[in-house]
């Protein structure tokens, strides 16, 4: 599956989850929502063949996500709301899942292949809802992998597919070992994701 096809799924799931909380996602918030899922997808056993996000001026950015959402909008699975042209000529807009897109999501939900991915995105949604959707940007800016690599300038590829380069997973793995007790002990994905958000929100209101 090509990276853009992979992102088609992610966009459909993200916008469906956001819609559950009555949220439309703008271009940047959509990028960030998927980024938060990408960072711990390895722990969930979800191996992506994405090219991944790069550091950019408004946080991590993956061009494949933008292309995917544009394709979905063109095909009618996603609608574009609240479009606006800013003074600098850039266009802002929010994306919302359409009824057809919702049907596509329902089909995916009934397919075992997407089960884990959908569970992960749903849990990300639960945790963002608890932290506040307006904090989505702040959560990503506090995410260790991005934090450590943003100093490399724009266009630096964030490799979250390996424990060696995914700083969040390294920190969470250390915390997990400390909490659970031994190196081999298992922490289920839900608890691991809760711990992930505890790490992200730790400095949120400080």
């Amino acid at each position: 599956m090509s990276p853009i096809n992979n992102r088609l799924k992610d966009v459909i799931i993200s916008l469906s989850v956001a819609n559950f909380y009555n949220q439309d996602l703008g271009r940047l918030r959509l990028q960030k929502f998927i980024y938060l899922a990408d960072i711990i997808s390895l722990y969930w056993g979800i191996i992506n063949n994405n090219r991944g996000h790069k550091t950019y001026k408004n946080g991590p950015y993956d061009v494949d996500i933008q292309n995917a959402v544009d394709v979905l909008a063109f095909r009618g699975f996603v609608s574009i709301t609240q479009t606006n042209m800013k003074e600098d000529g850039s266009i802002t807009g929010s994306y919302r899942i359409t009824d057809v897109g919702r049907q596509l999501f329902d089909t995916m939900e009934n397919n075992k292949l997407f089960k884990r991915r959908i569970s992960l995105f749903k849990l990300i949604g639960v945790n963002i809802e608890q932290s506040g959707w307006n904090n989505l940007k702040a959560l990503v800016y506090l995410e260790p992998t991005y934090c450590f690599n943003k100093v490399s300038g724009w266009g630096f590829r964030l490799d979250y597919s390996s424990l060696l380069s995914n700083d969040t997973l390294r920190i969470l793995d250390g915390l997990k070992k400390m909490l659970v007790g031994s190196n081999d002990s298992y922490m289920n994905e839900t608890d691991f994701t809760t711990l992930y958000f505890k790490l992200l929100t730790a400095k949120l209101h400080a």
């Binding site: 506090l142 922490m187 608890d191 400080a206």
Partner: protein
């Protein structure tokens, strides 16, 4: 990044997860349970006012019969059940009693039962105990505020005599009570001199006695009016009678016989009020230091206070204590002892 990691480690849900790692408790479940409790307390804050109680967390029960609400908590407190055990459905599992809400009391209860407890005090401050260890203190309205600081002079009703000593050391000794009309001539303020001390002491006790109700100028069935009465949670009551010695600006003066009369007065109060567990006759001495020194005592702090056993052959009754506090008028640099 290290401070983020430290914050995660100090998170109460993480502490609970760590303490109960063998019981397969879910971190997400604990987080939600704690959050639900905070939301409940915030929602019912006005109903529950400043009640103190302990919530014991039960992670196993799935009972849904008795939903936790303000009425249930008030009913439990009325029946002296200050421990309310609840489950994740915010349903009451059981009620229990506890002797004391001191840190050590809660801690040992929690340790003995190997459980998680949330101590709610002043209505909005909570302390989370995990297997006896205080894991987190926070205010539900201002979660980022620093933990409440224990007041240096806070006492329990039973130690009301220490609170009287504190009052002398913190206020009277330094004339914060403004009892002198003419300090150099040792003349006390006129009018109702007794009220100067009584009002200030009543305020002090009200602010510093943590587990009781302080009442001033208490009238009961008879016409007698006692100066201050403390009624502790549980029903024990303590009586305080205040007198003064020396001269005031209205030219009234009292000397040693006043102590004797006051002892008799307290004796009579105790005869009438059989429910008073203990009492204190508190006398502020504005006479010369030499006269104060002449008082025979059983315990004392040099030139500051004395505890008398008797005065002019009048013995202090069993359920009473008589303290005479010397009113210092000279500054520390002038005093010779």
């Amino acid at each position: 990044m290290l401070d983020q990691i430290e914050t995660v480690c100090k998170d109460p849900a993480v502490s609970i997860f760590n303490a109960f790692k063998s019981s397969k408790l879910r971190l997400a479940t604990i987080t939600k349970f704690l959050k639900d409790i905070c939301v409940f307390l915030k929602t019912h804050q006005s109903d529950l006012a400043a009640m103190d109680y302990l919530i014991k967390l039960n992670f196993v029960s799935t009972e849904t019969k008795t939903k936790l609400d303000s009425h249930q908590i008030i009913n439990a407190l009325e029946n002296d059940s200050k421990i309310i055990e609840i489950n994740q459905n915010l349903s009451i599992v059981s009620l229990d009693k506890i002797d004391s809400f001191s840190n050590s009391g809660i801690s040992s209860f929690c340790l003995k039962n190997k459980c998680v407890c949330v101590f709610v005090h002043n209505g909005s401050d909570i302390t989370i105990y995990v297997k006896g260890v205080p894991a987190k203190e926070l205010n539900i309205n201002y979660p980022l505020s620093l933990p409440r600081v224990n007041k240096r002079t806070a006492r329990q009703s039973r130690d009301y005599k220490l609170a009287i000593m504190d009052f002398y050391n913190q206020r009277v000794k330094h004339n914060i009570t403004e009892h002198w009309a003419n300090k150099s001539k040792r003349i006390l303020r006129g009018g109702k001199t007794e009220d100067v001390f009584q009002d200030e002491l009543a305020n002090w006790l009200d602010e510093n006695i943590s587990d009781g109700l302080v009442m001033s100028k208490v009238k009961k069935i008879s016409k007698d009016e006692t100066d201050i009465e403390i009624i502790a949670i549980g029903g024990n009551s303590y009586l305080i009678e205040i007198k003064w010695l020396g001269k005031n600006e209205s030219n009234t003066s009292h000397d040693q016989p006043k102590i004797k009369d006051s002892i008799i007065q307290v004796k009579n109060y105790l005869k009438t009020d059989l429910k008073v567990l203990d009492s204190a006759l508190v006398i502020y001495d504005g006479r010369d230091l030499e006269k104060f020194k002449q008082l025979k005592c059983i315990d004392s702090e040099t030139n500051e206070w004395k505890q008398l056993k008797e005065c002019l052959k009048q013995k202090v009754p069993i359920r009473s204590n008589c303290y005479v506090f010397f009113l210092i008028s000279q500054s520390a640099s002038v005093r010779k002892n």
